[in-house]
């Protein structure tokens, strides 16, 4: 989950609540869903929260939420924007994999103090979350004074066929271009670099380039942004040094590229709201796609209709219409009520453009609950009567486990994940052989660890591994597990899952008879008929191995483990063992 570092003094400053102690702030933040995780070296609060309210990835956003919660602000706020003077032209050469761009200009912003760091943090956190590590959306922020617009773009000829575009598009007189560049095409000096490099060189020679190189693996041409002086941004990898933002920068050019227009527009809105809180004035930018011109940032609000009844029934409390309107306002939402008489009251709720999480009216209900304070609700045990019970399998499993414990076996609980060496090789077994445990395994596609690459096809190897790890402990070590095993088959999921019963008698005089004796007890207790016709199995000694046949069906194997298996696992005692399907004991 995202963690945002927030300076508590700045928070007090931005909310106008100097009187709040650190502890009070922590409580108020918990109520919003921001959990205090600790304090950074600089004394900043480290706040962890779920990735729904990405507008809170900066101190400005957290402060805004608190102001609403405190009742210092109410209702929806949408910043005014000035008309566009700049255009982002989208060239045909833009890579198909990253076709979308958006942006905004922010003027008169004050980035001194902690504001620049907060902006950089917001940018990074947005990349990590909504931007899906920059794959879905990447942000570049530039010092506008260092960008040299190309003027004299053919606005007049384009205006006619871009009929639904805003009139402000016509006023644009400066432009930059989003286009494709050959990997070994134009050079630029990247941030934190001092040499001219081609994009391909940046990907192999610059640390940031190396980090994001795999995002561009499938690209023939790389995304790039040009102004009149040439390439100055290489999304989604790195900006150029020329337009680097500093604490002294006053006017900013914000551009975002990505794979989804809505996503980058919302990321852009979150940035714009944070800069607005720092005194910036937002200015529109025209994005000129080959077929249409659009004006950004997209501050259009959305409407949801939620019923009074739904709010009351979800929260479990009675509220007046004024209460609800007040709570909606404190959630930063615009709201008007509509009284339908007998059919109750609806609220038409206006959702601000920095919200990415309001998909359905239930999300509005949640906002009302947070504004009300969920922890002020009194728990009640629901007056709903149902009958509880366990599955037959789970009851059977418990009964078999109890029988084995009664026979003196230590009950085990082993991992279901293992590797081929443990599951087959070290048991003298071949994968794909027609014997217990010989089935083909369900295999993990990209395992972290070489030790855990498949799902076990039988349980005995787990028991033997445990014995191997406990050779320094006192014997006897009679052990058993009633657990899970699976192998591939041609069912719908391609995996046959079963519960399996495995047991081992491990002592200096363990013999076949000990294992067979235990099977007899189990057969007696579960009232099934047990037969043990001779068989062979690579893990067991020939002549001392039998098939476990329960009520006429083959269910498993019993015998003395092969000395080679014992030696392989550093065991110096004989092991008599069995394994069979749990469901063979079922009614």
């Amino acid at each position: 989950m995202p963690v945002v570092d927030v300076d508590p003094d700045e928070l007090r400053d931005l909310t106008g609540h100097d009187e709040k102690s650190d502890d009070e702030l922590k409580d108020d933040l918990f109520g919003l869903g921001l959990e205090f995780e600790g304090t950074s070296e600089d004394g900043e609060f480290q706040l962890e929260f779920a990735p729904d309210r990405l507008d809170r990835l900066s101190v400005e956003g957290v402060a805004r939420s608190l102001r609403y919660q405190y009742g210092d602000a109410s209702g929806i706020y949408v910043p005014d924007t000035n008309d566009a003077e700049w255009t982002i032209e989208v060239d045909d050469s833009v890579p198909d994999d990253r076709p979308y761009v958006t942006g905004a200009i922010v003027r008169g912003v004050d980035l001194s103090g902690g504001a620049l760091e907060s902006l950089i943090q917001l940018q990074e956190k947005l990349h990590a979350t909504m931007g899906r590590k920059r794959a879905k959306g990447a942000i570049g922020i530039h010092d506008l004074t260092m960008v040299k617009g190309r003027s004299g773009r053919g606005v007049d000829e384009r205006a006619s066929d871009a009929s639904d575009s805003d009139a402000s598009a016509v006023a644009a007189s400066n432009s930059i271009t989003y286009r494709g560049v050959a990997p070994d095409g134009d050079t630029f000096v990247a941030l934190d670099d001092d040499a001219e490099r081609t994009p391909a060189e940046v990907l192999t020679e610059h640390p940031t380039g190396e980090q994001y190189a795999d995002l561009l693996d499938d690209y023939e041409h790389y995304p790039a942004i040009y102004d009149d002086l040439g390439l100055f941004s290489f999304p989604p990898v790195i900006n150029g040094r020329r337009t680097e933002v500093t604490a002294d920068s006053r006017d900013l050019f914000v551009e975002l590229t990505g794979t989804d227009q809505w996503t980058i527009d919302r990321m852009c809105n979150i940035i714009c709201y944070a800069l607005d809180a720092r005194g910036g004035t937002i200015e529109d930018v025209t994005v000129s796609y080959p077929d249409v011109d659009v004006v950004k940032p997209d501050f259009e609000t959305e409407e949801k209709v939620v019923t009074h009844e739904r709010i009351e029934s979800t929260l479990g409390v009675e509220l007046s219409e004024d209460d609800v309107l007040d709570l909606l306002g404190r959630a930063g939402l615009g709201a008007e009520s509509e009284d339908w008489g007998e059919q109750g009251t609806d609220y038409v709720v206006e959702v601000p453009p920095y919200r990415t999480d309001v998909l359905h009216p239930v999300d509005v209900v949640d906002d009302v609950g947070r504004a009300y304070g969920f922890n002020d609700l009194v728990p009640r045990y629901p007056d709903v009567s149902t009958v509880g019970g366990r599955t037959e399998r789970s009851r059977l499993e418990r009964a078999v486990r109890e029988t084995l414990v009664g026979l003196g076996h230590q009950d085990l609980l082993n991992f279901h994940l293992t590797n081929e060496a443990e599951n087959y090789d070290r048991m003298r077994l071949d994968a794909g052989s027609d014997t217990l445990g010989g089935g083909k395994p369900a295999t993990i596609a990209e395992p972290y660890s070489e030790d855990y690459t498949i799902v076990r096809t039988w349980a005995l190897p787990s028991l033997v591994s445990l014995l191997e790890n406990n050779t320094h402990r006192a014997y006897p070590q009679d052990v058993a597990e009633v657990g899970f095993a699976a192998e591939r088959d041609d069912s719908n999921t391609g995996v046959a899952e079963r519960r399996t019963v495995a047991g081992a008698v491990v002592r200096h005089d363990a013999s076949y008879e000990d294992a067979k004796a235990r099977l007899q007890v189990i057969a007696r207790d579960f009232d099934v008929e047990l037969e043990t016709p001779a068989t062979t199995h690579p893990s067991f000694i020939d002549g001392r191995t039998a098939e476990v046949v329960i009520d006429g069906e083959s269910a498993g194997v019993v015998g003395e483990l092969h000395p080679e298996v014992l030696v392989e696992h550093d065991l110096e005692v004989p092991v008599a063992a069995f394994e069979f399907r749990l469901d063979a004991l079922a009614e």
Partner: protein, 501 residues
Amino acid sequence: MELPQRELSVLEAASADEPTPIAELASATGQKPETVTGAAFDLEERGLVTVTEDTVADVELTEEGERYRHMGLPEVRLYLAAREAGADEAPVSMGAVLGDADLEGPEVDIALSNYARKGYGEIASGDLSADPDADPESDPEAAALDRVAADDTVDDDVRETLERRDLVVVHERTVRSVTLTDDGVDALMAGVEATEAVGQLTPEMLASGEWEDVEFADYNVEADAETPSSGKTHVLRATAERVKDVLVGMGFEEMEGPHADSEFWINDALFMPQDHPARTHWDQFALSEPSEVDDLPADLLERVESAHREGVGDDGDGYHSPWTEEMARGVDLRGHTTSLSMRYLSGHQVGDLEPPQRYFSVEKVYRNDTLDATHLLEFFQIEGWVMAEDLSVRDLMGTFTEFYSQFGIEDVRFKPHYNPYTEPSFELFGTHPRTGEVIEIGNSGLFRPEVLEPLGVECDVMAWGLALERLLMLTHGFEDIRDVHGTLADIDFLRDTEVVY
């Protein structure tokens, strides 16, 4: 005649002339006093000895008595000081003498009341006179204190006075003594041999009646015995059983279903966008073999895809994320057992469900993670849900508060949270029953309409989840989960762990 060895030795040590106390016999025979007492009664039953009982008073100095033994009795000190001040000639002021005698507090009263009683002198209106003939050297009480300290006998009346003055305490006890009878003397004269002591009571002894004549050798009953090799239900299994008991008691019915399942049931049905970070191989175990399921329920697939793309309801929105059926067909080891909840709620597992319903499972889930003290690649998830008309957040809180209180976790707090599949959502926090720390104990919420509507559920469903291992670590204070779960477990640890009930 034959006697068990313990009786024979007592018989030989006893005398016909005078009673021998048990303690003396014990040291003479090298046996414990209780063994000698038992043997004495057995011998008495045989008519070889008589056992007599005397009450003996043990006198012991109190702390005060000990102090006076060293410093002198208060009245004696007062007399000596009075003589020094010349009170044998003319009465002197009491105040000065008390100071000289180093008397203060309660000792003043003690001194004064005994002074007159013992005839050391007289006290009249604050003046003190001393009898020149009194002899403190021969004060019987002072002498008795020395005798008590030396364990010598003291006259009864002096002892009673000291007892009244709280200078001694008296413990009375019964002392048994043994005297040989004539038969005893005769038997010894005729010669007695020891019977052999028996270690193990045998079936043969019981059958033959031989047990009546044998002596059973004493065991050291306090010594530790060898611990038998025994089995025990695994502590985590036992915890799971406990959780199941609680949930069944709360009216929940158990679910079961596949560990290897399609992403459709694991993620898509849960309204997890296909580009959600938790759906990368970094977090979940995708299988390479098998890699795809054959069939998904076509109508349901369509409704789920529509929820992802368009949302549900009149003004619902979908995700701005890609969605493909191919991804939904992918096979994973389930990362949560909410896949089972989806199967049950859809009606595909046990048929259509009518409200109200409560269901739970305590089953394995898998996460592609690195193994450490608090993280396993596979662990047990407690999953539960309640389906009913008009459930509120208060019902959710009431249910989970009740559940956690069964495990000693009180004061559950609800932190508003975000899950793709529930709204409202809460992380549950509780007070650690041992450390008092506030810690996360679960995740919960009401399933979203985008989850329920495609499944065909028309009422409310609230759900929560929690790792069983976390609950165990909380209630048992374990610090490394690898000690407990898996093939790396130490068998002694499993053997030694306290049982769960």
